[in-house]
Subunit: 368 residues, 2 copies
């Protein structure tokens, strides 16, 4: 935790101490509106793993989201404590201690969880024994992400098991194609989601023919959600990064019908050393941003290129034009928003050149 | 912050909820002893940016360290609040607000800071005006890291300026060659540190000939400190990662006289999905480790390879032998310890198969 605040409400943005995580509220609001407009008939359940911020969840729900997704049980507990009453935990939960907490949480909110294994379901059933309120259980389908999930035939077996399990309600299929989100070419994303939708459709048909209703098919992210929307099989979408729009998502090449968002999230950084020709050093490095998806972009200054990050330093190459001066303030667009946000305890919320609020990233570090 | 603890003191290690950051106390103790033994005549000032944990700093000082280094002002404030009384802030501090806090901190502990610019020094002097206790000011020399720092001639000018600046005491030269730490070949590291020491020597000679005493030449990291030790010019070493020993440092090829440490830091993780042949999915991804220096290694299981990380998942390839089972607990050796530790609020300290303590990573996220 920081021993002091980087700014106060009402401060001029350029005076916020650095490195700090900045949210442009006007852009953020436009991103929220754009998603709800483009979702059309879809239920929208944004993914809160991107922001880990209950205030953002409240604003998403106020705009029409049905609830949020979380990715970790501890994250879901924090959002529930903050008053969010409808959460889909888009992950498997393993271990007796966590399952007991999961069962408890299901007594206080509308809660869903994923399974992709009969043993998981048996363990979940044991944790739910004697609980008053049942758990919404979704089957994760492997739709091309090559991570978790089962094929449609295995899903049918799991669905049969769920409907005969006391304390568990079969709530639907989780069909998230994570790899498709970051495919650069629009036609690659189209192909991947077409395939994902076909697999989802197979699973729906198999389960439905066995006499089991499939209430929901949920999935989709910021990079593809309009494809799932138009697939005819998905009923709910889960985009998360759209609220911020990181550099990596923006690097996806657009098709004519792509839905684009604007960069709302920045790392404000200061030039702390300018003792060499050709480059300057800023105070934001690996502990201020995740570089797993590449380096950040310097906002609005194409003549500057963030070259390399060490733990607490960033080297910015001056491609052309004048070199920034010691003390100059720059804004970086992070390569990957989710793990970057997870480094900070607070979002500095700005409108124009003023700090208008500070929001707690209450679920930062909640990885259990 | 986590809404509950992953374990309690006395728990069996395999029952610690995951993902959690585990410190093997016996190995850690051996690493501390090995450094002090190998430092020989050198003053040792370990870098606390690696661990951000006051309890570790106290143990380093109890073993003979003169104090610690910090890399950020907010980090230094937290260590000072925790009772550490001798801190070298191995970084430039820029901005009036931070400089005022820096000047305050210097009134309460023995504090050093770096400069590599005359304007920085002028700003520091303004912040120190009227303060009772002076600040130790070190000049950062560019010794091959291609980041901050000045050449020996500019250092002489800065040294002259410091000795005539009220409130500032010229304390020495900071000559850290960060790039050398991770050069894979031992002869590459030797060459880099030989060059760094030559530049440091030039600066010392220039400043000494001008009649200014150079009380300290400080630098060196876990990858090279025995080279600086034997250079004849360095008087203090600053290794940080040796307490943990990450995968990237261990990947350095050793020369006969290299000083090696053991892995003391692990991410404990659980197999949460095992629904495919050939790989399993664990619950530790990008929010549980930094992958800037590559993927983690699965401890003690060369038949398993951590293939890719997404935000909350890791895919582990089964190269040969039986596939781990759902619920199996694995330990990962992080690729890069510093930004990995910065993701966690607590270290779970174990001895053998028991949890013996939980230490606060109090300066986690302290990047201002």
């Amino acid at each position: 935790m920081l021993p002091w605040k980087p700014c106060q409400i009402g401060d001029t943005v350029s005076l916020v101490q650095t490195p700090s995580l900045i949210l442009d509220l006007d852009v953020f609001d436009r991103n929220l509106d754009r998603l709800m407009h483009c979702a059309k008939q879809m239920r929208v359940r944004p993914h809160a793993k991107s922001h880990k911020c209950p205030e953002i969840a409240r604003r998403q729900i106020a705009k029409g989201a049905v609830g949020v997704c979380c990715q970790k049980l501890s994250e879901a507990v924090i959002f529930a404590q903050a008053g969010i009453t409808d959460i889909l935990l888009t992950n498997q939960v393993v271990g007796i201690g966590k399952l007991a907490r999961l069962a408890q949480l299901a007594q206080t909110i509308q809660l869903g969880v994923l399974v992709d294994d009969q043993q998981q379901l048996a363990d979940l059933a044991a944790a739910m024994a004697g609980q008053a309120k049942s758990m919404d259980v979704y089957i994760e389908i492997e739709v091309g992400g090559q991570r978790c999930g089962v094929d449609p035939e295995s899903a049918l077996e799991l669905a049969k098991q769920i409907v005969s399990t006391p304390g568990c309600r079969f709530a639907g299929l989780h069909c998230y194609q994570g790899r498709a989100q970051h495919l650069r070419q629009a036609n690659q994303r189209q192909t991947a989601i077409t395939q994902a939708a076909q697999i989802a459709r197979q699973a729906v048909d198999l389960i439905t023919k066995a006499g089991i209703d499939v209430p929901c098919v949920t999935g989709a992210g910021t990079g593809t959600f309009w494809l799932e929307r138009d697939s005819g099989v998905y009923t709910e979408i889960q985009p998360g990064s759209y609220v911020f729009m990181d550099r990596d998502y923006a690097d996806n090449l657009a098709a004519a019908d792509d839905v684009r968002f604007e960069h709302a999230l920045f790392i404000q950084t200061t030039v702390m050393s300018a003792s060499h020709d050709g480059f300057v050093v800023v105070d934001a490095g690996l502990k201020s941003m995740s570089v797993d998806s590449g380096m950040p972009r310097v906002d609005g200054q194409p003549n500057l290129s963030y070259l390399k990050a060490s733990d607490e330093h960033g080297v910015i190459d001056v491609i052309e034009g004048p070199r920034p001066q010691l003390g100059d303030v720059l804004r970086l667009i992070p390569g990957h928003c989710d793990p970057t946000v997870n480094l900070y305890d607070e979002l500095v919320v700005v409108r124009g050149d003023k700090v208008v609020d500070i929001w707690s990233i209450a679920a930062r570090g909640a990885s259990l």
